[in-house]
C-alpha cells in the first residue's frame, strides 16, 4: 500500500488511501482519547450530540436534507475501542464522483459538513442545546442497556469487565450506565472543547480523489479547529497474568448458557499468536470448531479471538447449561494440544492460508482499510498487510508452540439460566 500518514495541522494527521475501484468514497475523522471509566461515557456521547445539528443546519431534518441532496451521503457518529484508546468521531460514506449524475462533486460538501459537525455545533448559553443533550444521553443509556439483549455480546462484555477490572481495557467503549447518568450538559461541553483543542485527530480517506484534492477539501472544512497543546496518543498496557483463576457467573431467564473464557498471553510474538489462535479457535477448521462443535455436538459456536493490542485471548461458546464441565474440559484440552504442537499438517497450512487470505483481501474493503490504518496508528504498529503476510509465511511451529505456552487461563464467565 502506498499510503502516507502526514500532518495537516497541529496534532491532525491525514492518511490517504487512493483507490479507483470503489463506488464510494470514505472519509473518517476520529479523536483519540485514553480509555478511562471517568471519561468514557462523555467521549461516547459527544459525537451523537454533535450529530444533532450545526449552527447552519440546526436540526436533524435540515441535516438529513443536506445529506439527501448529496445522493444519500451518510455521516455516522462512531465510537470504537482500539487497545486502551477510545476513538470517537464521524465516518462518512458517499457515492464516488464518477457515478454522480450530472458530474456533481461530493467530497468537498461532505468534508465541509463534517467540519461543521465537529466545529460549529448548535449551542445555547455557551453549551450544547439541553434538549439534544438530554435525548442523546437517554439514547446512550438505552444503547448501554441493550447490550444485555444480545446474550453473546453481553457475556463477552461481562468477561472483559471482570477480567480487566481496574485496567482501562475493562471499560466499555460506551462507558458505564452510572457515569453517563451523572453527566451534565456544561461538563460535556467542557470535555468537547478540550477534545477539539487537545486530543489527537486522525483523518483517513479512501477513494478516487487525489491527495491534493483531499487536503484542499479538509483545509477548508477544518479551518475552524481551535488547536492548542495536543496530547500524545495513549499507549496500551498488557494484561498481567493472575495467580488464581477468577470464576464469575450470572443467571438470566435464557434457554442457552454462554461460556466465556479469558486467557492472559505472556508473549509479544504476535504472528505466532495469530497462527496459534487460528488453529485453536479462530476459524471453522480450528480445533474448537472441529471438536467442541463437530465431534462432540456441544454447541453451535465455539471460537477464540486474539487481541494483539491487549495481549489476551478469549473463547466464546453457547451451550446447554448442564454441558458446562464437558465444554470447559474440551476447550482447555484443545488449548493444551496447540501448546504441545499436537496438530496435523493441514491444520497449520489452513491457518496460514486463512490468515494470508484475510490480509490479502484487506485492500478490497474500504471499511477494513480504514479500521486497519486507524488501529495501526493508535497502537503504534507499523507493519503493512504485505509485511504481516510475509511474517505469517515465515513463522515456524516452534515459535507457535513457544508463544502459545505463555497463554494461561485467567477468568471464566458463565451465563446460566434462572432455573438451572
Amino acid at each position: 500500500m502506498n499510503n502516507i500518514r502526514k500532518p495537516v495541522a497541529e496534532g491532525v494527521y491525514l492518511t490517504c488511501l487512493p483507490a479507483q475501484k470503489f463506488k464510494t468514497g470514505v472519509l473518517s475523522a476520529q479523536f483519540i482519547a485514553p480509555l478511562s471509566a471517568e471519561t468514557a461515557g462523555a467521549v461516547a456521547l459527544i459525537p451523537s450530540v454533535l450529530r444533532r445539528g450545526t449552527a447552519k443546519s440546526p436540526d436533524m431534518g435540515l441535516l438529513s436534507a443536506r445529506l439527501d441532496n448529496l445522493y444519500g451521503a451518510r455521516i455516522d457518529d462512531t465510537v470504537r475501542k482500539l487497545g486502551e484508546c477510545q476513538c470517537a468521531g464521524f465516518v462518512a460514506s458517499f457515492l464516488d464522483d464518477r457515478f454522480v449524475p450530472g458530474g456533481e462533486r461530493l467530497l468537498e460538501p461532505v468534508a465541509d459538513l463534517m467540519g461543521e459537525l465537529f466545529c460549529q455545533p448548535v449551542t445555547e448559553n455557551g453549551a450544547f442545546l439541553p434538549a439534544y443533550f438530554e435525548s442523546e444521553k437517554a439514547n446512550l443509556l438505552d444503547a448501554i442497556g441493550s447490550i444485555r439483549n444480545d446474550k453473546r455480546l453481553w457475556a463477552g462484555r461481562r468477561l472483559l469487565s471482570e477480567m480487566c477490572a481496574g485496567e482501562p481495557y475493562g471499560v466499555s467503549r460506551l462507558g458505564e450506565e452510572a457515569d453517563v447518568e451523572a453527566l451534565q450538559v456544561t461538563e460535556l461541553y467542557g470535555r468537547y472543547r478540550d477534545m477539539l483543542q487537545s486530543m489527537p485527530l486522525e483523518i483517513i480517506y479512501c477513494g478516487s480523489a487525489s491527495e491534493e484534492e483531499v487536503e484542499h477539501a479538509l483545509r477548508g472544512a477544518f479551518a475552524g479547529l481551535p488547536r492548542a497543546d495536543v496530547r500524545p496518543i495513549p499507549g496500551t498496557t498488557r494484561h498481567p497474568s493472575r495467580a488464581d483463576v477468577l470464576h464469575v457467573s450470572d443467571a438470566m431467564d435464557v434457554t442457552q448458557g454462554k461460556l466465556e473464557l479469558g486467557f492472559s498471553v505472556g508473549s509479544d510474538d504476535y504472528v505466532a499468536l495469530l497462527m496459534g489462535n487460528s488453529m485453536f479457535g479462530g476459524s471453522s477448521n480450528s480445533k474448537l470448531f472441529m471438536n467442541v462443535r463437530e465431534k462432540l455436538s456441544l454447541c453451535y459456536y465455539a471460537s477464540s479471538s486474539y487481541y494483539r493490542r491487549k495481549g489476551i485471548i478469549t473463547v466464546s461458546s453457547g451451550i446447554e447449561f448442564d454441558h458446562y464441565q464437558a465444554a470447559f474440559d474440551e476447550i482447555t484440552r484443545q488449548l493444551e494440544m496447540v501448546q504441545n504442537g499436537d496438530w496435523e499438517d493441514w491444520e497449520i497450512d489452513s491457518a496460514r492460508s486463512i490468515l494470508i487470505n484475510s490480509y490479502a483481501s484487506l485492500g478490497d474493503a474500504q471499511g477494513k482499510l480504514e479500521n486497519y490504518n486507524l488501529s495501526c496508528t493508535v497502537t503504534d504498529f507499523h507493519d503493512t498487510p504485505e509485511e504481516v503476510m510475509g511474517q505469517i509465511r515465515a513463522v515456524t511451529p516452534e515459535r507457535i508452540i513457544e508463544a502459545m505456552r505463555t497463554v494461561k487461563l485467567d477468568t471464566v464467565y458463565f451465563l446460566k439460566g434462572k432455573e438451572a
Binding site: S64, D68, F99, S135, R148, N149, S297, C299, I354
Partner: protein, 429 residues
C-alpha cells in the same frame, strides 16, 4: 456468453443458461484481489410442502436449513477443510426462499470453485452424521430463540400470516428437527439441488469462459423437473392484531407490520419492491417529518427503521425499534400514512429521497455479497436488479400514495412487542 453493459451503474454482466438448466452469471471486478462465488438453490425454510414424482410431500420445519448444514459433509471428509487449506472462507445460509453456499478467496480460485460445485451437488449423509447434527442445530435454535430481534420479527409474521409457510421458523424447532432423517434429506436434495433450480454467480477478476468450463465439467449433465410447491392459502386479513411477551431485554422493543398484497413475479415484483422501499423512506425514514417528530418526542431513537419484504405469496411492510410507547408510535405511523396517501405529499422531500435511494443502491453494489444475492433474488423472482435506474425512474408520487393508502391501515396491522421481564411483572401486579 451474453454480455450486458450497464453504463449508468458501471457494471458488466456475463450470462449463460447451461444445457443442464443452470443459470450462470459473472460480474467482472478488475483491480480486486478477492474472488467470490455464490451458488444458490431456490429452496428455503418456506418450501416444506412440495410435489416430487407426482406425490405431495410434507417435510419437517427446518429441513432446508438442516440440509444446508449436512451438505458440507463429503465422502472424503468435510468440504470446509478442503476449502480452508486454500485459505478460502466458505459459508452458507438458508433464508425463507433460498439456500446459498459461497466462498471468498484470494488464491486457488478454480480449485475452490470445483470444491464448492462438487460438495453442493453431491450429497453424502449417514444416519450417524445426521443424528450428530441434532445437538449442534438444537444449540443454534436455542441461540436464535434467545434473540429478542428474532422473536419480535417471528411473532409479527406469525400474527400476520395464518397459513403462508413464510411463518415457519427457518431453522425449525428443537422438536421439529427430531423427525429429520438421512432419507428425507436425500429426497429434498433430489428435488431442489438440481442445476435447473440453481444459479451460480461469480464476482471478481476471473475469466468467464473458465467458470463456464468448470461448471459444465463438475455439475450433473441434466437438470430435474420443476417442483410445484404449496405455500398455503392465505386470507386477506391478519391473524392477530397484537402480540406481546416478556424477555431478558433492557428496553421495550416493537415491530409494527402491515400485511400487503404481494405482486406478480417479474418486472412488477422489482418495481413493487422499490415502491415499498421508497414509501418507507417517505413515511418514516430519517428525513421524514414523522421520524423527526417521534425522535424529538423521545418516542423513538436511532434504532428505529423500516423495511419492505417480499416472498412468494407474502408481502410485509414493517417498522420498529426501541420505544416506551409502541402503541403511540404505531398509531402515528398509520395516521401519517393516511395523510400522505390522502394527498399531503411533499414533493421536495420526495425528490431528495429519490436521490438518496439512488445513491444507496449504486453504493450497495460495492459489496460482492450484495451483488451476488441481488442477482440471485432477481433470477428467482424474474427481474434484473441492474436495471434499477430505469425501473426507479418509472415510479411516480401516485405509486407511493397508493401504496401507503392501500397497505398501511389499522386492518392490516400487527403490533409485536417484547418488554423487559420486570416491567411485565409490574403490569400484571
Amino acid at each position: 456468453m451474453n454480455v450486458t453493459q450497464y453504463d449508468r451503474i458501471g457494471e458488466r454482466v456475463y450470462r449463460k443458461k447451461l444445457d443442464n438448466g443452470l443459470e450462470l452469471r459473472i460480474v467482472p471486478r478488475p483491480g480486486y484481489v478477492r474472488k467470490y462465488a455464490f451458488f444458490a438453490t431456490r429452496y428455503g425454510g418456506m418450501d416444506t410442502r412440495f410435489q416430487l414424482n407426482g406425490q405431495w410431500l410434507d417435510t419437517p420445519a427446518g429441513i432446508a436449513h438442516y440440509l444446508e448444514h449436512k451438505m458440507f459433509d463429503t465422502e472424503d471428509g468435510n468440504a470446509l477443510q478442503e476449502l480452508a487449506k486454500n485459505g478460502a472462507e466458505p459459508n452458507a445460509f438458508t433464508s425463507n426462499a433460498m439456500t446459498g453456499y459461497y466462498f471468498d478467496s484470494t488464491s486457488h480460485f478454480e480449485e475452490n470453485l470445483r470444491i464448492l460445485l462438487s460438495f453442493v451437488s453431491v450429497p453424502y449423509f449417514t444416519k450417524e452424521s445426521v443424528d450428530k447434527e441434532q445437538g449442534i442445530i438444537a444449540q443454534e435454535i436455542r441461540m436464535i430463540e434467545d434473540n429478542p430481534d428474532w422473536q419480535i420479527y417471528h411473532r409479527m409474521v406469525q400474527g400476520m400470516y395464518a397459513n403462508n409457510t413464510a411463518r415457519t421458523a427457518i431453522a425449525g424447532s428443537v422438536e421439529s428437527i427430531r423427525d429429520i432423517t438421512a432419507e428425507t434429506l436425500y429426497r429434498c436434495h433430489e428435488a431442489f439441488y438440481t442445476p435447473s433450480n440453481m444459479i451460480l454467480t461469480v464476482v471478481g477478476d476471473v475469466e468467464p469462459g473458465r467458470v463456464e468450463e468448470i461448471a459444465v465439467e463438475i455439475l450433473p449433465k441434466r437438470g430435474g423437473a420443476a417442483v410445484p410447491r404449496d405455500y398455503g392459502q392465505e386470507p386477506e386479513g391478519v391473524a392477530t392484531h397484537e402480540l406481546k411477551r416478556s424477555m431478558e431485554v433492557a428496553t421495550p422493543q416493537f415491530l409494527a407490520g402491515f400485511k400487503c398484497r404481494p405482486p406478480e413475479a417479474g418486472a412488477a415484483w422489482f418495481r413493487n419492491a422499490l415502491v415499498g422501499e421508497l414509501a418507507s423512506d417517505m413515511l418514516l425514514g430519517e428525513s421524514s417529518p414523522l421520524y423527526l417528530k417521534l425522535y424529538d418526542d423521545g418516542l423513538i431513537n436511532a434504532t428505529f427503521g423500516g423495511d419492505y419484504e417480499l416472498l412468494p405469496g407474502y408481502a410485509c411492510f414493517y417498522a420498529g425499534g426501541d420505544s416506551r410507547d409502541a402503541r403511540a408510535v404505531t398509531d402515528a405511523i398509520i395516521q401519517e400514512a393516511a395523510r400522505i396517501g390522502g394527498g399531503q405529499f411533499d414533493t421536495s422531500l420526495y425528490d431528495r429521497l429519490r436521490r438518496t435511494m439512488y445513491g444507496e443502491y449504486v453504493r450497495s453494489f460495492n459489496s460482492f455479497e450484495t451483488m451476488a444475492v441481488s442477482m440471485t433474488e432477481g433470477y428467482f423472482h424474474g427481474y434484473d436488479p441492474f436495471l434499477f435506474p430505469e425501473v426507479f425512474e418509472s415510479i411516480t408520487p401516485e405509486d407511493i400514495r397508493a401504496f401507503l393508502r392501500d397497505n398501511v391501515t389499522p386492518e392490516r396491522c400487527v403490533l409485536s412487542e417484547i418488554v423487559p421481564i420486570d416491567a411485565d411483572a409490574e403490569e400484571s401486579a
